[in-house]
């Protein structure tokens, strides 16, 4: 199945976007967790704060479905 | 074309005011904008973008006929306008604005610049 990962900042370089400036198309197995998908792409989990799917925050154990657009975010500083 | 205002989305950032003054006066001065943001705080905590709704009352009231409908928007002809302020008084929505350095009252001409910078969906163009 196909999902789309989006990011900017530091993760951007690791993600290697191919669809547009921010988005990478990823082919993956049904039932794979985000942790597994990120692992396959070689993105260190520590660099990912959380995922954001359809307006909701999801943990990295999230299991995407076909066509999901998943924003991944690296941690930042408040204030 | 008109501007749809969704006030619940407005964050009070005043980008719209800045670009409006830049567009019409080539100046950085949000006080010279044809749109203003009303802020009701602390209670209930609501921002309301206020701008011309194109009702035409000002055109009826202008004693020297300086206001006319051009396309979708009422506009003031600066050559004719005597800056008497009657339109400001009659505007039912309080959206005919004044600034000491502006030669005429300031009203929205639907240039749509503000809708380009507004990032919250508070101001959008509708046909």
């Amino acid at each position: 199945m196909i999902v789309y990962l989006r990011s900017g900042g530091k993760l951007h370089e690791l993600l290697k976007p191919d669809v547009d400036q921010y988005t990478r198309r990823v082919e993956t197995d049904e039932g794979a967790t985000l942790v597994e998908i990120l692992g396959e792409l070689g993105i260190p989990l520590a660099m990912v704060a959380f995922a954001f799917v359809a307006g909701k925050v999801q943990k990295l154990g999230y299991v995407p479905s076909e066509g999901d657009v998943i924003t991944i975010q690296s941690p930042v500083a408040g204030g | 074309m008109k501007i749809r205002v969704a006030k619940e989305n407005c964050t009070g950032c005043k980008l719209c005011m800045q670009i409006c003054a830049i567009q019409h006066y080539d100046e950085i001065n949000p006080k010279k904008a044809a749109i203003h943001i009303d802020a009701e705080f602390p209670d209930p905590g609501v921002y309301t973008p206020k701008l011309c709704v194109q009702c035409g009352k000002c055109m009826e009231a202008c004693p020297v006929n300086a206001i006319s409908l051009v396309g979708d928007a009422y506009v003031i002809d600066p050559e004719t306008c005597t800056d008497c302020g009657i339109c400001v008084e009659v505007c039912p929505f309080g959206v005919m604005f004044v600034h000491a350095d502006a030669p005429t009252p300031i009203m929205c001409d639907l240039c749509m610049k503000c809708t380009e910078v507004c990032n919250t969906g508070a101001l959008t163009v509708v046909e």
Binding site: Y22, V57, P75, G78, G79 | T11, L15, I28, G45, E116
Partner: protein
């Protein structure tokens, strides 16, 4: 002068004298605004033995080169003075709309000198500047007063106020504006209160001259269009900084129960998601900002009046929430409201109350000290009682009004070991036992433990959390680039989150001023300010510098007892290693004193002369300043 209001105002509060002088272009270019203006002016003017709450201290308010311009989020304004919390240089920055309004009124800096005989407020309406009586306002809460003054003067005035805590000299009092934006840190509110200055009201209607308006407009509009589709725009707009509560817990850097541990059981109840679901009223932005990290909320607690508050943002959730053991977002928002209206910094305030709760747990503070109340973790009634005692400086509240360091010195009994502060200012909302670069950041900071100087948690992850190596260089880089935003006065988040580059911000400065400025020049200015404020600290407090760069014992020695960071601590050897590395990389001597070479390279040889006279100048390096300084622009690890 392009990009500036053009006038500096000096107000002698004792005599009521008001003096206007043109802003010198040389001063503007060399110091750029807010933090730079403040650092230079305070260094040059305040006697070294001046009492922070006495007549010789000055309070400065200054926007920066980007404030009020059409630059991305040119919203900020800085306040500065000598801090009653640290007895060193203080600057504190806030957003909202005050800075822009001040520039439209035509002013780049207001310097308040001496002490007013009566409570007053400053009234500015374009060219009209007056000190007006604030007798009617004295004693009012910050938020209540802002509303009252908007009613009295008009909605279009931008207003900054202090609360009762500031009037009473609590050393972590803040200045509040726009119903919840604060110049929170360093105790600037206490200094304002000591001057009997209750509020500032400004209205400005002038145009701000800029060098190249068409290019500036196009540049900012392009940046807006580009960042609108940035993947991180939506999460930021939706949750603001509170988004990171979960991440911080997952990574073992969230303070729980006065930093006893770093994973907070029940954090889900005080997360950004909870905020958005349960209490959010509206999103709220600073001037010219399209990220709108501000979340305006309403807290509902049975038996208490519903209250409105801007926030709680991450730091407040971490320190009033986690560090005080709270697990309910309504409680945190209510605590936030109490701090805001009483005029206390939510960060130092939450941190200090968490410290007091631990003292209560250990029996060091008792019911007798609390007028019969308790002080239990996570109890909002107990929180309310103690915070009111602090604001009034009643009983144990007087002891706590000095912050964790001052309180620990008064309480004794080993409490200093769990007072989370550096140089007298409390930690931000990140535990550092698994994040050594962050600990180094806190402890070497000129103003004390504030993350606006350097936030190095991600750098720690990248370099390796437990190693002390390679940390100093990154911290120094961050200590230059991050406070640069408080000097230019635009929001850091556009750079940090949605990929607007520092170079783009410098381009914006060029369009606005016409100066041929570069990022390298700006970084050098930032380093110059850093060396100036460091020297100032030493001139006031003596030396050697190393004596002041100390970490709380808990962070060095106690292993984290639970959660993802379990078993970690920084360790004294690692800390000392990082300090040596840090001083070396800065071109300071082993004692942490700045050297003449560096001060001369930075164009402030007169500071070296002053240090020399005071016997505080660093020993020169035998072969000249270390070469590493040449790489200070951007370390490889970033």
């Amino acid at each position: 002068m392009n990009g500036f209001g053009g006038t500096i105002v000096r107000i002698n509060l004792e005599t009521g004298g008001i003096k206007r002088t043109p802003t010198p272009e040389k001063f503007a270019r060399e110091w750029m605004g807010a933090r730079g203006f403040v650092a230079k002016t305070i260094y040059d003017e305040v006697p070294r033995d001046a009492d922070p709450l006495g007549p010789e201290n000055i309070l400065i308010m200054a926007p920066g080169v980007l404030t009020g311009t059409f630059a991305p989020a040119g919203s900020k304004i800085g306040f500065g003075c000598i801090s009653p919390a640290t007895n060193g240089h203080a600057d504190s920055n806030m957003g909202g709309h005050l800075g822009a309004e001040m520039k439209y009124a035509g002013y780049d800096m207001v310097v308040f000198e001496r002490i007013s005989p009566e409570p007053v407020y400053l009234y500015i309406d374009d060219d009209t500047i007056e000190l007006r009586s604030a007798s009617d306002y004295w004693g009012m809460g910050s938020l209540d007063l802002e509303k009252r003054m908007k009613d009295d003067l008009g909605e279009d005035f931008q207003i900054a106020t202090i609360g009762p805590a500031g009037e009473n000299g609590v050393v972590f009092s803040c200045i509040t504006h726009d119903f919840g934006r604060q110049a929170g840190r360093c105790g600037v509110g206490a200094v304002m209160g000591s001057k009997k200055l209750k509020a500032i009201a400004i209205r400005g209607s002038k145009s701000l001259p800029v060098h190249d308006l068409p290019t500036l407009t196009k540049s900012t509009c392009d940046i807006i269009q580009r960042t609108k589709t940035h993947p991180l725009m939506e999460p930021w707009q939706k949750y603001g900084t509170a988004l990171f509560v979960g991440w911080s817990n997952d990574h073992g850097c969230f303070p729980s129960r006065n930093f006893q541990t770093t994973y907070h059981e029940g954090w889900e109840g005080i997360s950004g998601e909870k905020l958005a679901e349960e209490i959010l009223v509206t999103h709220k932005a600073c001037f010219g900002c399209w990220i709108n990290c501000g979340k305006y909320s309403r807290a509902h607690i049975p038996g208490k009046p519903d209250v409105y508050v801007e926030g709680p943002e991450y730091e407040t959730i971490a320190l009033c929430g986690g560090s005080c053991g709270m697990t309910n977002i309504h409680d945190v928002a209510y605590a936030n409201y109490l701090c805001d209206n009483l005029g206390l910094d939510t960060m130092s305030g939450g941190n200090t109350i968490g410290f007091a709760m631990e003292c209560y747990e250990k029996g060091i503070i008792t019911k007798d000290d609390l007028e019969g109340h308790e002080l239990r973790w996570g109890n909002i009634d107990d929180f309310e009682n103690i915070i009111r005692m602090i604001a009034d400086r009643r009983g144990i509240g007087e002891v706590l009004s000095y912050g964790t360091k001052g309180a620990a010195e008064r309480l004794g009994q080993g409490t200093l070991a769990f007072a989370h502060q550096a140089k007298g200012m409390e930690f931000s909302g990140y535990d550092t036992r698994w994040y050594s670069a962050q600990l180094l950041s806190y402890c070497t900071s000129d103003i004390g433990a504030h993350h606006n100087r350097s936030w190095a948690i991600t750098a720690d992850i990248q370099i390796g959390q437990d190693t002390p190596e390679g940390k100093a260089e990154v911290v120094i880089y961050l200590q230059h680039i991050r406070p640069l935003f408080d000097t230019w006065c635009c929001c850091r988040l556009f750079w940090g989150e949605v990929d607007v580059t520092a170079e783009e911000h410098v381009d914006t400065i060029r369009y606005i001023t016409g100066w041929d400025v570069t990022l390298e020049e700006c970084m050098k200015i930032s380093e110059k300010i850093w060396n100036l404020t460091r020297s100032h600290y030493l001139e006031r407090n003596g030396g050697p510098g190393r004596r002041f760069d100390v970490a709380p014992a808990r962070q060095l020695e106690e292993k984290v007892p639970s959660g993802p960071a379990e078993g970690h601590r920084v360790g004294i050897e690692n800390f000392e290693y990082m300090l040596d590395d840090y001083y070396y990389n800065r071109g300071w001597d082993k004692n942490g004193n700045p050297t003449r070479e560096v001060l001369e390279i930075l164009g402030i040889p007169y500071v070296a002369d002053n240090l020399e006279k005071a016997g505080l100048l660093g020993e020169p390096f035998e072969d000249g300043v270390p070469e590493v300084r040449g790489r200070r622009l951007k370390p490889k690890a970033m």
